[in-house]
Symmetry: C2
Subunit: 274 residues, 2 copies
């Protein structure tokens, strides 16, 4: 390439960087527009959901991805969650930050009723910082475009929550000697529990609840916005199970035959299941 | 549950259904706001990208998910794509519909230069229709909530595109006897090629390009909006490869040692890679 070509490409990269900033700022504006528009609809929905028994229990147990973050022994406490609400920051410079509030029901002799809010803040990691972290060398041409692809990450604060009595041995506030092998092991166990997630800050990677930011995002971007969809799916699954067991037990219909009868477009199933 | 309780829950479900409609309509409004805001920034970007050699070739070969839709033998023709643009419908009743335009470079004696636009339309599948398709029975209580979770699907029209000469044997327009075993086999092969995707309609599942709608969505919701991000990542990867090969060949640095030196926070890597 000639020097002239190189110069032109450098200029194009610079223009493209400016354009990406523009797109990023439109994204924030769109997000703000959405948060403001949705607020009253979400508030209304929160009130309606409160009237439906076990709504959140059904949603949280239905969601496969959520289960990946939760140890089997924690589900007892997940079932005690009566209500979840998410509030999204709508100031343009705070877009991406949010707080999640959990209402826990009492579990007798184990967990008190409590309302806990955990706050998450979206912060920028500048290219300088990222480059330091990754131990990269400066690299002249790419850096111009690299600069604009600023990464962002969620951070949080340690959040006071009462742990279940059953978890006394792994409750970090009750571990006397955190340096002993036994203490270390219990501390790590505790950090991996759902209650450990409330201590997640994002500032001590490897020593905290694993992927605490992804769990927060799952709640704020998927579980809360689409909770009614997940609830409906769960109800549909229950209904399917009911009708299957009705079919087989009461009427004794052979399901394989029934499926063939309805199967006018045999190939369609392939698409759905693959 | 008492009749009174049942009645109250039914009413709540009805209210929730109305609320979901409200949320759905806000979603469309937000999407419209975004499309209108983004239009000029995207147009500006299209013009800038044209000045960067092999931009789309680099983006398309970088993207792992895209590769899942493309047979290895098709990549020669993917590399011939000089430009991709996506136009999003912004009328409120057409939100979710879009068109994708591909500019193919000529491949001598094989593929002519051509500009092809494929249009996609988002259509609703009403609960009635869905229920027919899935062969479900009516189910009284759930149906109320079910009604609101209307599914949507993409459809398209067969789109004229000149196939490469190399593909003559699997080009559906050139297969003389589509009913012969050989003809059937070739037809299926053709439908699975990237050129087969241009014939995808969404109306003959199992007989068309597999997951043609997902490929369309990948282009419209991921590859086009984030193309600069993917381009930058690809450039960063190239730079990394270069610096690694420099390190080993010219200076003979042991990479494993170098990594240990920089590894102030050993646990961080875990988070990144897992």
């Amino acid at each position: 390439m000639s020097d002239q070509d190189n110069k032109e490409i450098s200029e194009t990269f610079l223009e493209l960087a400016k354009n990406e900033f523009k797109i990023e700022s439109i994204d924030k504006e769109v997000e703000q527009f959405k948060i403001r528009k949705m607020e009253s609809a979400y508030n209304e929905r929160d009130t309606l959901i409160e009237k439906i028994p076990s709504f959140w229990k059904i949603v949280l147990s239905q969601h496969l991805d959520f289960a990946n973050y939760i140890r089997a022994s924690d589900f007892k406490y997940i079932d005690a969650i009566e209500k979840i609400t998410v509030k999204y920051a709508s100031d343009i410079e705070k877009i991406g930050s949010f707080s999640i509030t959990f209402h826990f029901n009492e579990i007798k002799d184990d967990l008190p009723e409590q309302i806990i809010t955990k706050k998450f803040k979206l912060v920028k990691i500048g290219p300088k910082q990222r480059s330091d972290e990754e131990g990269e060398d400066d690299n002249t041409k790419e850096t111009e475009l690299d600069d604009i692809e600023s990464d962002e990450r969620l951070i949080s604060e340690v959040c006071d929550i009462e742990w279940p009595k059953e978890y006394n041995s792994i409750n970090p506030d009750l571990i006397e000697d955190k340096k002993s092998p036994e203490g270390k092991k219990n501390y790590r166990q505790g950090m991996k529990s759902f209650f450990g997630w409330f201590r997640w800050t994002g500032l001590k990677p490897g020593k905290e609840f694993p992927h605490g930011d992804s769990l927060a995002t799952l709640l704020s971007e998927d579980l809360y916005p689409y909770c009614v969809k997940y609830y409906t799916e769960a109800q549909r699954d229950f209904a399917d199970e009911d009708s299957y067991s009705d079919d087989t037990s009461e009427e004794g219909i052979d399901l394989s035959e029934e499926e063939q009868d309805n199967d006018e477009e045999p190939a369609k199933k392939k698409i759905h299941t693959s």
